[in-house]
Amino acid sequence: MHETMIAESLLEAISAEAAKQNAKPVNARISCGTLNAINDEVLCFAFEAITKGTLCEGMKLEIEHKPMQGLCKNCNESFKIDLSCLRCTKCGSEDFKLLPDAPLLLEEIEFQTEQ
């Protein structure tokens, strides 16, 4: 349910950029890490609900999930963390360091060109 507050912050950020561009936003791409625990369906639903009647109404959200990375202490390779199988995908060792998770970012907004 934290997606609701994220949707509100997203609306604020997109509205600010739309005011600068003086254009209607159509699509937005955001990215998040594993530990942001974002459920796409819930975020899109919340975003759709709070953008009703705003300039952002009808916008499409594209959500990119950046996988968490681990650094293996045995083979020194970095690898994608699979939460259901916590071991190095290269050598199988369980001795690894968690690398910092990706932040929640508003990456890009697509605007309609004036007609």
């Binding site: 507050m5 994220i6 530990l35 508003l106």
Partner: protein, 222 residues
């Protein structure tokens, strides 16, 4: 159509307040622990017992987060510790701005340690930094030993984890909770996490938790 690269943190407004809180706490050398758990894991009971048992050693204040009511702040105030209640009116987590105004209303200079009791929820509160010194995950045995595996985010981000209500495991109640499994799952993602199996009711295991709190408070005084 044209695209604009933004590259902005979506929760930057929350992070600005979190930074303010963190600066205030660091300047004043106060320990601030953000307690996160499911509803009913026993956070308030852990706090009232900790405050009473440590009253001659550590001065504690509490910021209470709940959707509604002043019930928890009143339980804390009954121990004579100062408590500020925040009602989120439906929101599932505390925000850094709410904690910022609560900190203004606590007598911080008289305190060593400030506990933030977050809204009962294992997912959402872990996504919002409050400017705390550390997060503490609380789990009770009645919830099941699979929680660290199912809700990795909070266990990965916490400095310590309390496994509460261990008295139930010995009381002849049918609970399948394997403490070693919960510990192992939490450590898979967080090797350094301190784990304290406790009973806030009987007092079992609390000595280790208290020693850890005293050490953490002392580190800041140096």
């Amino acid at each position: 159509m044209y695209k604009v690269n933004v590259g902005k943190k979506i929760l930057s407004a929350n992070e600005e307040y979190a930074l303010k809180n963190s600066q205030l706490l660091t300047e004043q050398k106060k320990l601030c622990l953000n307690m996160i758990s499911s509803p009913g894991s026993g956070k308030t009971t852990i706090l009232t017992r900790t405050i009473s048992d440590l009253k001659d050693k550590i001065k504690i204040g509490v910021i209470e987060g709940d959707i509604q009511t002043e019930i928890d702040a009143e339980r804390i105030r009954a121990t004579k510790a100062p408590a500020i209640q925040i009602n989120t009116d439906g929101a599932c987590h505390l925000s850094a701005a709410q904690v910022n105004s609560a900190l203004e209303n606590l007598p911080i200079s008289d305190l060593d340690l400030i506990f933030i009791e977050n809204v009962g929820n294992l997912v959402c509160p872990s996504a919002f930094e409050l400017g705390e010194s550390a997060k503490i995950a609380v789990l009770s045995v009645a919830e099941g030993d699979d929680k660290p595996a199912k809700y990795p985010s909070i266990f990965a981000k916490s400095k310590a984890m309390l496994i509460n209500k261990i008295d139930l495991l010995k009381a002849g109640v049918q609970i399948d909770f394997d403490i070693e499994r919960a510990k192992a799952d939490a450590r898979k993602l967080n090797k350094g996490i301190e784990i304290f199996p406790i009973s806030a009711k009987t007092g079992e295991g609390l000595a280790g938790w208290y020693d850890w709190l005293k050490r953490e408070v002392k580190k800041l005084r140096l």
